[in-house]
Structures are given as C-alpha cells and as structure tokens.
C-alpha cells in the first residue's frame, strides 16, 4: 500500500515537473526573443500630430528663411527685398527636434540672446552659428542689422567676407583689445537712444586672456540690451578659478551638449519666456542645424553687399556745381558738396574759421574715394587761379598721380618716402614762392603712416599755416591729439575713430556712408537732434566711368569752359 502511494506521488511530481519545465522553456524562448515594446500606431499618430503642430507654430514664429531648410536641393533662393521682414526677427531656428525619427520639427528660439555651452571649435556649434547668422542677415531689411563678430580662430566668419566692405559686418575681432572695442560699442548701443537698427554681437570663441571683467560686461549687456542680440558660444568662458566656467547668461536660451544631441533650455526671464515649471528644457532629440553650403552663404552675402553699396552710391553729377566749371570765387573760402543726407546735398567749407578736415576710417572704408570725390568737386568749382592743391600719399595707394593728371589745380604729388622731404619743402619752400592762389589745399591720405617727427611737422603746418592754407587729412586709427584738435570738421567712415569716443554715430556705417561732424566729433545730448552732425552718402566718382571721363576731359582741356 505504502509503495503504491509513493509511486503515485512520484508520478504526480514527475507530471508537475514536466509542466513546470515546459513553462520555464517557454519563458526562456519568450525572453530570448524579447524586444522593447514598439510604439502603437495610435501613439505614433499622436506624436506626428504634435510634430505637425510644432512645425506650424514655428513657421508662424520664424517665417521663410528664419526657419526654412538651407540644405534643400536645389539650394533655396535668397529672399528678395520684398520677402525680407518688415520688422526685426523675433524668433529664429537653431535646429531640428524629432518627435519621431521621421517626424522632425524646427526648434525655434526667441531673440533674445542665445548661449551655447561649447565654442565654435565644436563643428556642430560652428555650423549652427553660421546658420543662425545667415538666417538673420538674409531676412533683415537692408541696413537694419549690424553684425560684430569675435572669432579668434576664424571658424565662423570666413564665408561672410563679402559683407566686410559693405559696412554690415566688419572683419572679425580676434584679440582682447578688439573684444574690448566691440564691447564698448555694444555698451554705447545698449545705453543709447532707441534705434531702428539691431546690433548682433557674435562670439565664436574667446580671445586669450578673457576673464571675469569680460564675463561681467556680457552679463550686464544681456540684462540691459535693447535692439541688441548676443549670440555667444563657449558660455560661460573658462577662467580662473572656475576652469569650467560658471553662471548663466541672463535672458538667454541655453543650448547645451547632451549625448549626441543638444538640450535647449528656454529662458524664464525674457519677454518670450518659458513658464518656470518643469521641464524647462526641450528634450526631444534636438540636432543643431549644420553649416549652410558656402555657395549659399556667398550668394546671400554678395547680394546684401551689392545692395548696401548700391543704396549708398550717388552720382558724380550730384556733387558737381550746376553752373560752368571754375566759376566760383575762393576769396571767402572753399566749399564743396561732399555727399547727400537723405535727399539734401551736404556742403562743407574750408574757411578762416573752419580751416582743416580730418577723415578717418579703416582700410577699405572709402577714405580715398571720398577724397577723390571732394577733389573732383573742388576742381570743378575753382580754377587754378583760385585753388592750388598739393597731394601727399605716404602709403602709396591713393592714386594721386593719376588724379593729378586730370586736375590742373594740382601743383605737386608726393608718394611714399618722398612725403618726408615734401613736408619740409612745403612748410619752408626754397627759392621764390609761386604766385599764390586764393587758397592752398594740402591733402594727406594716410597720416597713420607718418612717423612722429613728420606728424609734428604736419601739426606745425596745421597750426602755423597762413590765411588761405587748408589741410584735409585722412588716415586709420585714432588721430594724433595735437593734430585732431586743429580740425573742427571730422568725417567718420566705417571703422573710423575721428569722432569723440563717446559719440557712436559712426557705428555700423555702410561702405559709401560717412558721418560728417562739424563740432570736433562731439556727439551732444542723447536723443537730441544734432545740427552739427549728419549721416552722408558720399560719391564714388569711379562708379560712372563715362561721366568721369567727360569731367576729366573738360577739366584738362576746356580751361574753365563748360
């Protein structure tokens, strides 16, 4: 009986074991083939719907090129002037978010400021900065956006070189001194009167030696900015004693590396802020926009530069006198149309009280063009019996020799090393003086190339020159103080430093534009109308070769006829 019961129990246990083993084997099979649960069609449809809604809202916030793909094939055509924004951009795309792998949507950020945690040595950041820069440039109405770039390693700005001569975006700053100048300009901009232009300050990398002072200035700028956007990479910059940097940039959207993606955190303290409740960041596989193709950048920049220069250009006829040539009397002084302010010709004088002019601008800003235009204007108005001109070109690139061939008023031309001898000779000429004309004009293109001794001589000439002797001095950088204080008329071109340091009227000039100041460069009260200062579009006499050839022919052959 007992043996039978035991056998029965063992038999039951064996049967149960077989079932248990079967369940274990089935479980092992199920787990071996297990893959994470795929999204259901309903879930995918919901995600696609959300991506569609985000794309639609982004298209409203950042229309056209502000959020379009810049890598489409064929490449997108640059927006025409009619397509550019009537008002400044308020949002711009930085990349693509992905609700699903095949359901992207543009990630837009408010402007504002944008701060990347990596600098442009990270190619993803460099690409995104180029993309942002191109979008904002392409969609801004002409002249409404000025760009300053700090780019020590030239990682961002190279393809934008066509804009350098258009006054839209000067060559990048690469060192601490340049960064200081850019920050000073931005601080003037932030403190100044309300403007109809926007300044975009791009930091593609930090010059060696940047420290707490620069960080503090950027932080203050970000707080105070009006019509000023900061696009900063590598924020916060590493500096002792914070080797990895600390602190957020106020009112800025933060873009931080996150695995192979980036994490976009919207500001909570800006006009278009994210409510301060979690999550404060966009966590959906955001990939930054890659750099636009170079040919697309070049196409846009060339168009913008051409447009800026065309807008600034005025014809030779506008600066020439209406009457016959050489019909004016220089007894009371010289006067000449230097350009046009809006639709009004701007006339400047050289008289007993306004004896000398100072013209300042960086290389390529148009100093020589301005001087040639002024000289053609004077030569058309005053005959050789009224005006004698001496041309001095210490640098050797002013083209004075060719100019002298066409202007009978030019008595002498001195180029390069000969300028030193010329200055001595002109100040104290040997032998009998020629019969003086009513006015004598010395034009120096390139004071910055003169050494201290020659500058002293030139200053002496400016100080002791007798009645009817005038100087027009052009150069780069800050003028020598002794020389500057003898020049009431200051003409500031792009990059020029002849205005008072507190006067930022020349910030953001386009090529072909100048600020003409008749009060030694002083700016005057903020917001006040400045009668002594005008924004002038000056003439490029070489823009119309036919008109210029006609004028040169008349000047050299007519002897004063019309």
């Amino acid at each position: 009986m007992a043996r039978w019961r035991i056998r029965s129990r063992v038999g039951r246990a064996a049967a149960t074991h077989r079932r248990a083993a079967a369940i274990a084997a089935a479980s092992a099979t199920a787990l071996r083939g297990h893959v994470p649960r795929p999204r259901t069609p309903v879930e995918e449809q919901r995600l696609r719907g959300l991506a569609g809604g985000l794309a639609a809202a982004a298209a409203q916030l950042a229309p056209g090129w502000l959020s379009a793909s810049l890598h489409s094939s064929p490449p997108p055509a640059p927006p025409s002037a009619l397509d550019t924004a009537r008002r400044p951009a308020e949002f711009v795309r930085v990349g693509l978010g992905h609700a699903l792998d095949d359901a992207p949507f543009p990630v837009v950020v408010p402007l504002g400021h944008v701060a990347f945690d990596s600098d442009c040595r990270d190619p993803r950041v460099a690409g995104a900065v180029r993309s942002l820069l191109l979008r904002l440039l392409a969609t801004a109405s002409p002249g409404s956006l000025l760009v300053r770039v700090v780019d020590p390693d030239n990682l961002v700005s190279a393809p934008f070189a066509p804009l350098h001569d258009a006054g839209i975006m000067p060559p990048p700053t690469t060192d601490l001194t340049g960064l200081d100048a850019v920050l000073t300009e931005a601080e003037h901009w932030a403190r100044g009167r309300p403007r109809d232009r926007t300044l975009l300050l791009v930091v593609a990398g930090w010059p060696a030696g940047s420290g707490d002072a620069e960080v503090a200035r950027f932080t203050a700028l970000a707080e105070a900015a009006h019509r000023l956007h900061l696009l900063v990479t590598g924020w916060p910059p590493p500096r002792p004693p914070h080797p990895t940097g600390t602190g957020a940039l106020p009112r800025a959207t933060e873009v931080a590396r996150w695995h192979s993606y980036v994490r976009v955190t919207y500001p909570t303290d800006a006009p278009f802020a994210m409510p301060p409740q979690p999550p404060s960041y966009l966590d959906c596989d955001v990939r930054l926009d890659p750099a636009p193709p170079d040919d697309v950048i070049d196409q846009v920049c060339t168009r913008l530069a051409d447009q800026a220069i065309d807008d600034a250009r005025i014809s030779l006829g506008e600066v020439l006198p209406d009457g016959p040539l050489w019909s004016a009397d220089a007894g009371g002084g010289l006067e000449v149309v230097v350009g046009r302010a809006a639709d009004t010709p701007v006339t400047l004088r050289l008289t007993g009280t306004v004896r000398h002019w100072l013209v300042g601008g960086r290389q390529g800003a148009g100093k020589t063009t301005l001087l040639h235009g002024v000289l053609y204007g004077l030569a058309s108005r005053y005959g050789p019996d009224q005006l004698t001109v001496h041309l001095l070109d210490p640098v050797g690139d002013a083209g004075f020799v060719e100019l002298a061939a066409a202007l009978p008023q030019v008595r002498s031309v001195w180029v390069g090393d000969r300028v030193a001898a010329a200055l001595t000779r002109l100040v104290d000429p040997p032998g009998p003086r020629p019969a003086p004309a009513a006015r004598v004009l010395y034009v120096v293109d390139g004071w910055h190339a003169l050494d201290d001794a020659l500058l002293t001589t030139l200053t002496g000439l400016a100080t002791e020159a007798g009645h009817g002797v005038h100087l027009v001095l052009a150069g780069e950088g800050p003028p020598p103080p002794d020389l500057a204080e003898r020049c009431r008329v200051r003409i500031g071109l792009p990059g020029g430093r002849v205005l008072d340091p507190a006067n930022d009227a020349a910030a953001g000039l386009a090529r072909g534009q100048a600020v003409v100041n008749t009060a030694s460069g002083l700016g005057g009260p903020r917001g006040a109308t400045r009668a002594h200062e005008q924004l002038v579009t000056f003439c490029d006499p070489y823009a119309d070769p036919v008109a210029l050839a006609g004028l040169r022919h008349r000047l050299s052959h007519s002897g004063g006829g019309t």
Binding site: I23, A28, P110
Partner: protein, 130 residues
C-alpha cells in the same frame, strides 16, 4: 508677422505635450525592460530548482525528457511579453513547491536508509575518534 505671443504659447504648449507623451512612452518602455530583466533572474532560479528536482526524480527512477511534451500547451502563457512571462513563472514557482511537497512526503524511505553499512561504519568511526 502679427503678435507672436499666441503662436509662441501654442509652440510651448505643444512642446510640453510632446515631452509628456514621450515621458509616458519612455516610462512604459522602461517598465517593460525592468520586467524582462526581473523575469530573466527569476527564470535562472527556477531552472536551478528544476534541475535539483530532476536529480531527485531520476533517483526515483523517473526518466524526464529534455523537451517536455507539455511545451506546446504552455506557450500561450508567455505570449504577452515580460509581464506574461512573469505571471507564467509565478505559476511555475507554485508547481515547484508542489513538487517539493510531493517528494518531501517520502520521509519514511529516507529513514529506512540509516542502517546502510557505509553509514553505520562512518558512525562507528566517528564515535571511536571522539
């Protein structure tokens, strides 16, 4: 563009909704992964007990096949992913307890073995060594 406040609010709302949906899906995926991991650990323990019981049954002269014929009957139990596997393994654990109970009830047979010569000799040797 007209006032951007409205589309910006729509954008932010959609961003938040998207993140909530993604978080929800991520949580479900994480739970699935956790369940699979837990089931694997439990399966290892089950196999250990099964092997132990298999040895005992072999000692009782029961021959068990490596591919139990009940396999096709129970495959449906594990078809619902890690959660279903977890439930199936729970049932499996109950069965293992039943087997232990069934095999453990044969205690008299174990008692009868105490007089085996080897055991008797070992016991005598131990007594002598004290």
């Amino acid at each position: 563009m007209s006032d951007p406040t409205v589309p910006w609010q729509e954008y932010l709302t959609a961003v938040r909704t998207l993140q909530a949906v993604r978080d929800e899906l991520a949580a479900a995926a994480a739970a699935d992964t956790r369940a699979a991991s837990s089931a694997r650990a439990e399966l290892a323990a089950v196999y250990a007990r099964l092997e132990h019981q298999r040895t005992r049954l072999s000692g009782d002269g029961v021959r068990l096949r490596d591919d139990p014929p009940e396999l096709s009957e129970v495959e449906s139990l594990t078809a619902g992913g890690p959660t279903a596997v977890h439930a199936a393994l729970h049932e499996c654990r109950s069965l293992l307890q039943d087997i232990d109970a069934a095999l453990g009830s044969r205690a008299p047979r174990v008692r009868r073995r105490w007089w085996r010569p080897g055991r008797w000799l070992r016991t005598r040797r131990q007594v002598r060594n004290r």
